[in-house]
Symmetry: C2
Subunit: 447 residues, 2 copies
Amino acid sequence: MSQDSQFHLNAFLMGVGHHEAAWRHPRTEAHRVLDVAHFQELGRIAERGKLDSVFFADGLAVGPRIKHNTQAIFEPVTLLSAIAVATEHVGLIATASTSYSDPYNLARKFTSLDHISGGRAGWNIVTSAGADEAANFGVDGIPAHSGRYERAEEFVDVTLALWDSWEDGAVVLDPETGVFADPGKVHTIDHDGPRFRVKGPLNSPRSAQGRPLLVQAGSSESGKEFAARYAEAVFTAQRTLEQGQEFYRDLEARVVKHGRNAGDLKVLPGIVPFIADTEEEAKALEQSFTDLISPEYSLRQLSTMLGVDLTKHSLDAPLPPLPPLDEIQGNKSRYQLVKDLAADGSLTVRQLIGLLGGGRGHRTFAGTPEQVADELQTWFEQGAADGFNIMPPYLPGGLDDFVDRVVPILQQRGLFRTEYTATTLRGHYGLTDVGNRFAGAVDEASA
Amino acid sequence: MSQDSQFHLNAFLMGVGHHEAAWRHPRTEAHRVLDVAHFQELGRIAERGKLDSVFFADGLAVGPRIKHNTQAIFEPVTLLSAIAVATEHVGLIATASTSYSDPYNLARKFTSLDHISGGRAGWNIVTSAGADEAANFGVDGIPAHSGRYERAEEFVDVTLALWDSWEDGAVVLDPETGVFADPGKVHTIDHDGPRFRVKGPLNSPRSAQGRPLLVQAGSSESGKEFAARYAEAVFTAQRTLEQGQEFYRDLEARVVKHGRNAGDLKVLPGIVPFIADTEEEAKALEQSFTDLISPEYSLRQLSTMLGVDLTKHSLDAPLPPLPPLDEIQGNKSRYQLVKDLAADGSLTVRQLIGLLGGGRGHRTFAGTPEQVADELQTWFEQGAADGFNIMPPYLPGGLDDFVDRVVPILQQRGLFRTEYTATTLRGHYGLTDVGNRFAGAVDEASA
Ligand SMILES: Cc1cc2nc3c(=O)[nH]c(=O)nc-3n(C[C@H](O)[C@H](O)[C@H](O)COP(=O)(O)O)c2cc1C
Ligand SMILES: Cc1cc2nc3c(=O)[nH]c(=O)nc-3n(C[C@H](O)[C@H](O)[C@H](O)COP(=O)(O)O)c2cc1C
């Protein structure tokens, strides 16, 4: 939320593309999902387009989609370390869960990525809604939505404290006196809460950008409150301009309520762009992907999304009645989105699957480079976005097209940077003033 | 333990060198401890020498040595991901703790490194003996030695099962039929033990080498039993040929007792080599490092090693009496080593510190390239080693010297490979036959 004249662009990367049939399409090479060089190339393409960042989602289970799931190969932080050393500027955002890890290890691995990349790391904070994820960590069923967010809050509080535990300038590195760090600038955090007890300090100095950027992508009531309190960027699935504007206003009000400035949080709705010379060609391109969707895969995915088993349901009938939102412990916002789409009962399951196939609920848009640019400009100028989460339906080609054909138009219109002006991810997002609770404090650790 | 005619070499990398004063010495540039490019260069130097692997230690706290500790910067798995993409052959071994992580996340991150590197990942399994580490994970005091090893055993059992959960060939990647993986070759593990319940499968396919190499470095009674049961390589601190032979025979007997072949485990004692044209120059080089040791730092480090506060103790008096071994919950083997050194009461604390400074208890050796090669050959041929853990006192220079001056002599003598003959880390160590408990099994996950 800002009055900035330029917007922000994140490339959400997934295997050989976001479209669920991407890896079956002639525009991709399926085996690349296994190849780290493919992902390094994607990082370099994003950097060629001066994008703010690249981003990887993550989940802690294969899920019921083993047969068709091409995503489960790399862990995002290790993958981004490999991309970090193949790029110089682009930000690197990894998803990690607060439900199945702990603050010390998480703070450490993101700080390590931040050091490897010279201050370009970001953390997409998720609470892991899946029962299949829970079962890999000794938890039965889906942990309650509220408990997950309570844990997430304490988790992030501890992580932020650990990231403050080394002040700027704590590393002295003076061979003459033999002093590596100034112990007066390295602090214990002595956290003692209901879920975590952590003494600190972190075993890694503060990075070039102070600490990683905090990103969030949950749109339920608790998700929005959480984002308003902690997040600096929000990824969100909004299908219409009106919904986007409403979400934007809602989040802005919450941010201010939490005593922050509206500009402290950037809202980035997702878009899956099919780009071609003419609108007809773009629509035909999209259709060529839709034609490759496997109904078996999609029914499983829709079942997971809704928490309702549809695998025996007819493809040509409308959705069965769905339970009320407050009975859903999983991904509430995605559930609501599908429920809204299906509300008037006119869509069959097959049609619904086609609609969702491109971006699993995110907005797809097929058009010329100018039309895509117009669409982004409208959302930005009409108060629905501070930037966009670009979700190429196929990779690397879909990212190439966006970077080489849409970005130059945005640059000509003055809507997007022509060169990087900052060196860190926080800098790209215009969030430089990070502060440190311990700056100047004197505590036991200095003894 | 093997009758191989050639031995194995691992480069144990640490900041700008193993000698505790390395970063104060003119042969190093201290600021490189913060620079990922320095570590990528070390990986390339090791590869130039056809070394089997590089290795990073790790601890989950800064410890009481904040002021002088130059090690605590990068987390090893992220760092090795960055090195993986700058190298082609050399193995990549990272330390990770079984006490403060859990099997699913650990299995996942090592598999990810294995995919990034094309099958070159290894795991040095540690149980984290420090009270300072415990305090970062809500645990008071040092967790009991026996409990740590019990947890380690179940932890490794689960991790191995997760690594087997995808069979070789499970990834089909057939765009025609739309099948990514063959669900009949992806298995749940359904582990239900005293400390962990994990359903599986892992969310990442089997890697090119089947699973990461298992390495261990604890030399206490439980440590040796653990190594004999699980480890494929052991790093160990042995100060004399006789001690090395005794350790080797002891471990060999235990490996056989556990029903394994002697050749399934490689023993690699550590050596800190100071290399120069003449023996005198090499000894003078070592002395120039010893002269830079900060007694304040060393006293703290010795106190941590022994679990006894020596920071107020006179440098010129012998060690105070030490408690019996069975009262030590921390690092038992390192404790015993120092106790042995100090046994006859003739060494002052200052002398002890000088002795330990080079490799924190590991054997230092100063000599010509031929003398270093002779020493390694003797240990190998006299049944004390299957290879060596090379711990350069300063970096990158000390590794350059070993690779460019010692390795060619070993190669001429037929003791070390002149080219890589394998593509994976397991291959370098001659451990190719890894097996998979689930191969051919039919279970529910195939439904
Ligand atoms: C663009 C986008 C990316 C997401 N990426 C992930 C992810 O990688 N892992 C995950 O568990 N959830 C992911 N989510 C889901 C949300 O983070 C959140 O967990 C989910 O919406 C459930 O929370 P809620 O009930 O607050 O909506 C993503 C959502 C969006 C919109
Ligand atoms: C070469 C070498 C490297 C080691 N690296 C680590 C390490 O990185 N992290 C750690 O916690 N312990 C490390 N250790 C210590 C052992 O793994 C082990 O934890 C320690 O010896 C205590 O176990 P013990 O009581 O069985 O001896 C290392 C030991 C040796 C000999």
